[in-house]
């Protein structure tokens, strides 16, 4: 009796401890992307889309009643920083990671993910090096090889047979790999690479000398494989020299649409090959687009759409089986999931199969010229 009374009196002392013992039922996922620097266009859009996906799922009751928590990490377009970001997320015991957005970062982070048995679902990593492997890497965008082949075919269809190319040596698992694949396919099909020029964006070079060095004479078109800021900057320099030559850009070039718009008419007719159609009439996409604009006040880029798809496939797997230890197997068992613009099928290696679109930027708008 006396002992009970003493315990009762000590209860106020224990109150803060008792209150702090509420069991956390939340499920944590991570995001790794380049949120700062010239490559932040993809990362910011991806983060915003994943953020929107998490907000949406939590507002509708979470995953099987458990709230989803997002931990965002900036890899600053640096593989080393990306590794540290992944280690931080592993320490936070995330179930899965959306990202990294860049191929070089994805390649650097994969060993950390494998060691910690954390699945990576990258929205935009497209390096061929991560294709066809039974590992912890999944993605919702097709690898460079397909893009490159598609771009090569597109060029030839547009009667662009001679191409001058400039590409960034940063994020070379995307740029260099993409150019090489393009070159192989293009030349195999009879195209000619008139000149090629590489540069290192980390050194913030002046672009006019690079473009001049590239030389546009004799070229039917110019291919730019760089981040969006540099792509638009280079595009501006090209337009100074040749106002009409077609500019073919990697997907990154359209990532920062406000920069494109700032460029006015100088970048009219820039052509992109994208895995996303911004004019897609599907209700799931238009609804997402409206919500995204309402939430972030800008049009979602392809990176946002793919990041949202990546978040969706993770959530679908979590709904199926929330056990973190079995998450990779669960994700492998998903097969086809409903993407914003249609069903997306992941093969057993976690590589997707989805449609590609040729986009022309004209009068401040994207227009699909071929599917």
């Amino acid at each position: 009796m006396v002992r009970k009374s003493v315990l009762l009196l000590l209860l106020p002392l224990l109150f803060p401890v008792i209150c702090g013992c509420d069991r956390d039922r939340s499920i944590k996922i991570g995001f790794i992307g380049s949120l700062t620097g010239k490559n932040s266009d993809l990362g910011v859009a991806g983060r915003d889309a994943v953020q929107l996906a998490v907000e949406n799922v939590n507002s509708s009751g979470g995953i099987n009643g458990s709230p989803l928590v997002l931990s965002v990490q900036d890899d600053a377009a640096s593989p080393d920083t990306a590794v540290k970001a992944a280690e931080r997320l592993a320490a936070e015991k995330v179930t899965a990671i959306v990202g990294p957005m860049g191929s070089s970062m994805a390649k650097a982070v994969l060993p950390v993910a494998t060691r910690n048995r954390i699945v990576l679902v990258s929205p935009t990593s497209s390096t061929n090096e991560l294709s066809g492997k039974d590992d912890y890497f999944f993605r919702v965008m097709e690898p460079n090889l397909l893009f490159a082949r598609h771009q090569a075919q597109t060029c030839l269809k547009l009667k662009i047979r001679r191409v001058a190319a400039i590409y960034d040596l940063q994020n070379r698992t995307y740029t260099v790999e993409m150019f090489q694949a393009f070159k192989d396919e293009f030349t195999r099909r009879g195209g000619i690479i008139t000149s090629e020029q590489s540069y290192d964006s980390a050194l913030s070079p002046a672009f006019m000398p690079l473009v001049q060095k590239l030389g546009l004479k004799g070229a039917d078109g110019v291919m730019i494989l760089a981040n969006s800021v540099d792509s638009i900057n280079i595009g501006q320099q090209i337009r100074k020299i040749n106002r009409s030559i077609p500019v073919i850009s990697g997907a990154c070039g359209i990532a920062q649409r406000d920069l494109l718009q700032q460029a006015g008419k100088s970048l009219e007719n820039i052509i992109f090959t994208l895995p996303v159609n911004s004019q897609c009439p599907k209700q799931s996409y238009t609804s997402f687009r409206d919500n995204f604009v309402k939430r972030f006040n800008y049009q979602p880029t392809f990176a946002a759409v793919l990041a949202y798809d990546a978040a969706q496939v993770i959530m679908a797997a979590l709904r199926k089986n929330p056990d973190p230890g079995r998450f990779r197997e669960t994700l492998q068992g998903i097969g086809t999931f409903a993407g914003l613009q249609g069903d997306v099928t992941l093969d057993s290696f976690g590589d997707p199969s989805r449609q590609l679109y040729i986009i022309r930027f004209s009068e401040g708008r994207e227009a699909v010229i071929e599917q």
Binding site: L9, L10, A206, V229, Q236, A263, S266, F296, N297
Partner: protein, 650 residues
């Protein structure tokens, strides 16, 4: 419920110390919390207003400079080189400008003023198309200065663009938003507040940490921002960067931006947490103090109790010598100690007395033990003797049995002999008597007087002898006849016998009382003989009394019924009692009272054969009382018979 003093003191101390602390503490925390939050919100609002003013001031300067430059260029016709030089000079002179461009009517850069470190990229910017920059579009459309957030074409970072039309073209300046971050950082760092600016789309465009701006974070979903965008000064909690913040937000009307001034709830609540820590520490110290005080108090109070317990234990061990009174300042303990001392003295005294008694008892026990031994020896000795006596007695009994058997045989033979003799003698005696009577009658006249007298004596003797033989025959018959028991009402027998005795009683003054008599089990013929002999004797021996008084009664014993016959006749001398029941024994002469001397012997014989006893008491001249017993066989009916009848007087 079991508890000790230590716990009792602890509980008491905890109750008296903790409860007031808890109640006062909780009230204080609530009051301080309210005060701190009010104070915090007030300070946040003040800081936000102050910062908004500073931001306006900060922007006013570049806008003023920009306007001044615009007007200056409008008023002077500089060459292209001079314009470039002027722009570069201005950008170098004013840190807040990142770059200044002069655009032609199509929005193409014609001259550019850049920071020194970017000068080598000047060629990139010249000829660049900025016609799509929002501020330029707005300025061209409105023909006046406009500003709008944009993205730096060189760095990709967020920036603020100012654009004003000049002639047919325009002047575009990029303002470093990082400078805004510095302003709000300087203003808020000393107050542990974080201030940041959010554009109308919800994107953070200025923050003490430039990385936050670079990350283009958007807080349009936060209610604080939404409310502030509507023009209100709002204070609320918000979660940002994994931190819980308490923020105040207001809209800067001139810019359309929202300024948020926030502080971590943890920091804002620091005074409350400190107070909570103080309270908890106080409670902890109080608990510890209560425990220590409880321990001390319990020790102080337990010490005399322990001593008292020690005394009690020594008393239990019967060690009274070392019992001393316990010293304590506590009056109750002193009284308890004294009482215990007196109790010990009393116990000691009682134990001494008890010891003495025990010793005495032990002595007695020893004596008893010795006596017991002696007794046992004697008992053993006597047992041996008794056994011997028993054996002797058994031998004697056996001998007696043999003798008794022999005697009974002899008696039976004697009775048989007596019967035979008396039966056989009866006829000759009767013949002698008859012949003597015939001789007297037929030949009396021929005999002289002497002869006549002799013959008469022969006749008389024969008659007497015949009576004796008859008596003897009767006695023998009684002894030999079998007993056939039936239930008998003695009253009826007595009534019949008294009727038969009426002849002898005739002419006497008499008083005969027969009390109610219980029935008995006996041979009716023999018992009638008993009553007839006893009543006959009573009538006979009271014939000389003036008044014949006879009383018949009975008493019911546990196992037997005692009948009595008392008279007031001649009585007898008890000295001759031994012959009273002998055959042919008489205590009176035949002259006084005739009789054969066999009657009482017959009575005794019959009573004995029924398992009873007979005895008599008498005094000469005062009558006699004869009492005899018969074994009881029907107790209930006997009692009922006696109780229901009244005595009868004849």
């Amino acid at each position: 419920m079991k508890f000790d003093l230590k716990r009792l003191f602890l509980l008491n101390n905890l109750l008296t110390a903790l409860l007031p602390i808890i109640f006062i503490g909780l009230i204080s925390i609530a009051a301080v919390k309210s005060h701190v939050m009010d104070d915090h919100d007030h300070n946040g609002a003040l800081l936000a207003r102050s910062l908004a003013g500073q931001i306006n001031t900060y922007l006013r300067e570049p806008i003023g400079t920009f306007n001044l430059l615009t007007n200056h260029l409008r008023g002077h016709d500089y060459s292209a080189g001079e314009r470039s030089k002027l722009l570069s000079l201005l950008v170098e002179s004013y840190d807040y400008f990142d770059a200044i461009y002069l655009l032609d009517g199509r929005g193409i850069v014609r001259q550019a003023g850049l920071k020194r470190e970017r000068l080598e990229a000047e060629a990139d910017f010249l000829g660049m198309d900025f016609s799509g920059v929002e501020a330029c579009r707005e300025a061209r459309l409105n023909s006046r200065l406009q500003w709008a957030p944009s993205v730096s074409i060189s760095t990709g970072e967020p920036t603020m663009s100012f654009c004003a039309p000049i002639g047919g073209g325009a002047m575009l300046a990029e303002l470093k938003l990082s400078e805004l971050g510095k302003i709000i950082n300087e203003s808020s760092s000393s107050r542990t507040f974080t201030a940041f600016i959010v554009d109308k789309s919800g994107r953070i465009i200025a923050h003490p940490e430039q990385k936050v701006v670079e990350r283009k974070e958007n807080i349009s979903n936060i209610k604080l921002f939404q409310d502030a965008l509507g023009g209100r000064v709002v204070t609320a909690n918000l979660a940002l960067h994994d931190k819980d913040l308490r923020g105040t937000a207001l809209r800067i009307p001139e810019l359309g931006w929202v300024l948020v001034v926030a502080q971590e709830v943890r920091v804002a609540m620091a005074p409350i947490h400190a107070l909570q820590r103080i309270l908890f520490a106080g409670m902890l110290v109080t608990v510890l103090l209560a425990m220590v005080l409880g321990q001390i108090c319990s020790r102080i109070l337990r010490r005399p109790f322990d001593q008292l317990t020690g005394i009690a234990l020594r008393v239990i061990r019967e060690d009274y010598s070392s019992v001393r009174s316990v010293t304590s300042g506590c009056e109750e303990v002193r009284i308890l100690s004294e009482t215990l001392g007196r109790m010990v003295d009393a116990i000691s005294a009682r134990e001494s007395a008890l010891n003495e008694q025990t010793e005495a008892l032990m002595c007695t026990e020893e004596t008893l033990r010795e006596l017991n031994l002696l007794l046992e020896e004697k008992v053993a000795e006597r047992t041996v003797r008794l056994e011997k006596a028993g054996e002797e007695m058994a031998l004697l009994n056996l001998d007696l049995l043999k003798r008794s058997t022999a005697l009974e045989d002899a008696n039976r033979q004697l009775e048989s002999f007596a019967y035979t003799i008396s039966h056989d003698l009866r006829a000759p005696v009767r013949h002698v008597g008859s012949f003597a009577a015939m001789l007297l009658e037929d030949h009396g006249d021929r005999m002289d007087e002497e002869g006549l007298a002799l013959v008469r004596r022969i006749v008389a003797s024969c008659s007497q002898m015949e009576q004796l033989i008859a008596a003897l025959l009767q006695f023998s018959r009684v002894a030999l006849c079998p007993i056939n028991k039936t239930v008998i009402q003695p009253d009826r027998l007595i009534a019949e016998i008294l009727t038969e005795l009426q002849g002898e009683l005739a002419g006497r003054e008499k008083e005969i009382i027969v009390h109610p008599l219980p029935e008995c089990s006996a041979d009716v013929i023999l018992l009638r003989q008993v009553w007839a002999n006893l009543l006959g004797n009573a009538v006979k021996y009271s014939q000389k009394s003036p008044v014949t008084r006879i009383e018949v009664g009975a008493e019911i014993g546990e196992n037997e019924i005692t009948y009595s016959v008392r008279d007031n006749g001649a009585g007898f001398d008890m000295a001759g009692y031994g012959r009273l029941f002998g055959v042919f024994q008489r205590l009176h002469s035949a002259r006084d009272f005739e009789g054969s001397g066999v009657g009482l012997a017959i009575v005794e014989n019959i009573i004995k054969r029924h398992g009873g006893r007979i005895w008599a008491e008498s005094r000469v001249g005062e009558g006699a009382e004869f009492r005899f017993t018969l074994p009881r066989e029907r107790q209930t009916s006997d009692e009922a018979a006696v109780d229901s009848r009244a005595p009868a007087q004849v």
